[in-house]
């Protein structure tokens, strides 16, 4: 059997927890990690007689998302009850949106693969709707009972539903990563996957190319990109093997077990929930007028796609560099601040330093960019001194280390204190060259007898004698002239 005989169809549902201070329908806090039920108000635990009141902050975040993906923000949307029984859902229904969601349509562009095989793809979104999260059930043994913590009940979620536009686990992961970066970029979700702020469900089916759609199975609650990839790959393989062995796929909800790397059935269609949605009589239609949308649009930050294009046209960066620098808001903000301080003519060396030495050093020290010991203005100061030939790239690394260790406040201070200023006075460089030539007659003879390598050894000696401060280009030129003469 072969994967190429089959076409894979994947759609994703992402639950993004909105980073509001209070819950979607009550004034209880949404902070993570509180004592059990300390943040479950009368509304959240569904005491009789309480009424939900919609959080303006949650709606505003949904509008922001809709604008970011070029979707239609519905002037009128409706909340509905999704009915099912589970102890962590005390009302017996979840307030969600069904027929008229707040965000309709939209699309995002994903980049898949690397190098020559990299390609772009447009993924259409079906909708994004507001809903409340459920509580948590703890199944550890409480004398044969389950413990219920309703702190999470009522936390605002934006459920983002894609069209079944993806055809591999790589595309699904690229889409999820792009969405993850976007919700953080527009500051509607903290994106913390360990705490469950960003959770993915994947609908997977396979079919013969051009044939009718296969039956799909839904993999629930994937909370890391690695699990998303593993779960989809396993599921695709399992479906193809089942079909090629003459079996049939039954519509089902499955769970991924990270330990075994397998998916297993949670519930089949027969006992699938019948949610009996209907408009929630406790909530009136949500009306969003043009003025509100305009206000939100005016306050939107520059979006990653627009910024990427600008980096290419305004700063002359390659698409690859521009893509890397706009992969996260932290990176883009840091880079933009560096260029602002160093000047646009140094945009390219700024990019090299942010993506190169700085990124490597942060990675090694396991520090996030927003906690970088070297600030954007410090890095800009460093790049500026390379730009005006005060220091070479090699010396700049020394200066960078000094800034990283907090030895000085600015690159200029490091250069001054450690006497690292590049020597560009040709008289001074010639004097060093003369000394080196006198002390290295053997290399000189080797070079004159045709050994090119001896030249590099001499350059090395001159640089060493100048403690790395001689301008390398000048050293090369002057040395060539001396040896020829």
């Amino acid at each position: 059997m072969s994967r190429s005989d089959w076409e894979v169809v994947i759609g994703l549902e992402v639950h993004a927890q909105l980073n509001t201070a209070s819950k979607i329908f009550s004034g209880a806090s949404t902070a993570f990690g509180a004592e059990p039920n300390a943040q479950a108000s009368a509304v959240d635990i569904a005491l009789p007689g309480v009424l939900p009141v919609l959080n303006k902050g949650a709606v505003e975040r949904a509008i922001r998302f809709g604008l970011a993906i070029g979707a239609h923000v519905a002037p009128k949307s409706v909340f509905a009850r999704k009915n099912y029984f589970y102890p962590d859902l005390p009302k017996g229904y979840q307030i969600s949106q069904f027929e008229l969601p707040v965000v309709q349509g939209g699309a995002i562009t994903i980049r898949v693969g690397e190098g020559d095989k990299a390609y772009e793809k447009r993924v259409q979104l079906t909708r994004a709707h507001l809903e409340e999260d459920a509580g948590k059930s703890l199944h550890e043994d409480f004398h044969g009972m389950s413990g219920i913590d309703l702190n999470r009940a009522g936390t605002p979620l934006l459920e983002i539903v894609s069209e079944p536009d993806m055809s591999s686990s790589a595309e699904a992961v690229a889409y999820a990563r792009n969405l993850h970066a976007l919700v953080r970029w527009i500051d509607i979700c903290d994106g913390n996957m360990q705490e469950g702020s960003f959770r993915c469900d994947a609908n997977v089916s396979v079919r013969r190319p051009g044939g009718p759609l296969g039956t799909r199975r839904e993999i629930k609650n994937l909370n890391s990109f690695r699990f998303l990839q593993q779960a989809i790959d396993y599921e695709i393989q399992w479906q193809i093997e089942t079909l090629e062995d003459g079996g049939r796929i039954q519509q089902a909800t499955v769970l991924f077990d990270p330990d075994s790397g397998e998916t297993r059935m949670m519930r089949s269609k027969e006992d699938a929930h019948d949610y009996r949605y209907f408009p929630d009589p406790d909530l009136l239609p949500l009306v969003i007028d043009e003025a509100w949308i305009k206000r939100v649009r005016d306050e939107m930050p520059e979006l990653p796609e627009a910024m990427k294009t600008r980096f290419v046209t305004e700063f002359g960066l390659s698409t690859y560099d521009a893509t890397t620098l706009t992969a996260s808001k932290e990176m883009a903000t840091f880079y933009q601040a560096t260029v602002n301080a160093a000047g646009a003519t140094l945009a390219k060396p700024c990019a090299n330093w942010v993506m190169g030495d700085l990124a490597a050093r942060l990675n090694k020290a396991e520090i996030e960019l927003d906690a970088s010991p070297v600030s954007a203005s410090q890095l800009a100061g460093l790049v500026a001194r390379i730009g005006d030939n005060t220091i070479s790239n090699n010396i700049a690394r020394k200066v960078f280390e000094a800034l990283w260790n907090g030895e000085c406040a600015t690159a200029d201070e490091v250069i001054e204190k450690q006497g690292l200023k590049q020597v560009t006075d040709s008289g001074a460089i010639e004097a060093i060259i003369d000394e080196v030539l006198a002390a290295n007659q053997k290399s000189v003879e080797e070079f004159r007898s045709g050994k090119e390598k001896a030249f590099n050894a001499l350059v090395g000696q001159v640089m060493k004698a100048s403690r790395g401060k001689a301008n390398p280009t000048q050293v090369n030129d002057l040395l060539k002239r001396k040896l020829a003469g």
């Binding site: 004034g27 059990p36 919609l54 303006k56 902050g57 703890l138 199944h139 909530l283």
Partner: protein, 95 residues
């Protein structure tokens, strides 16, 4: 449209309502009565009328995003049948 016995049992199970064999018949009659009412209403010509999701033609009032609730779980849990370490305890549920 009218319902049959199996549908009544299905709806009852979804709603977690226990119906004894003697109750299914009368419940079926009552629900079918409701359907008859709905059928009457569906006979009304509503061409060009936008469906409403609420009987009142007003829009949702919004709250500012601010925390206004304090921790009242001890008071709330006084009426719970069983609690432990701040958690509500319920018969074990594992899917």
């Amino acid at each position: 449209m009218s319902l049959d016995q199996d549908q009544i049992k299905h709806i009852a199970r979804l709603a977690r309502i226990e119906l004894s064999p003697g109750e299914t018949g009368p419940t079926l009659d009552k629900l079918n009565g409701v359907f008859a009412l709905i059928e009457q209403m569906q006979a009304v010509d509503t061409t060009g009328v936008e469906p409403m999701s609420h009987p009142q033609d007003v829009s949702q009032r919004l709250r500012q995003d601010a925390v206004s609730e304090t921790d009242r779980h001890e008071a709330f849990q006084r009426i719970a049948p069983q609690t432990e370490a701040g958690l509500y305890l319920v018969p074990r549920v594992i899917e």
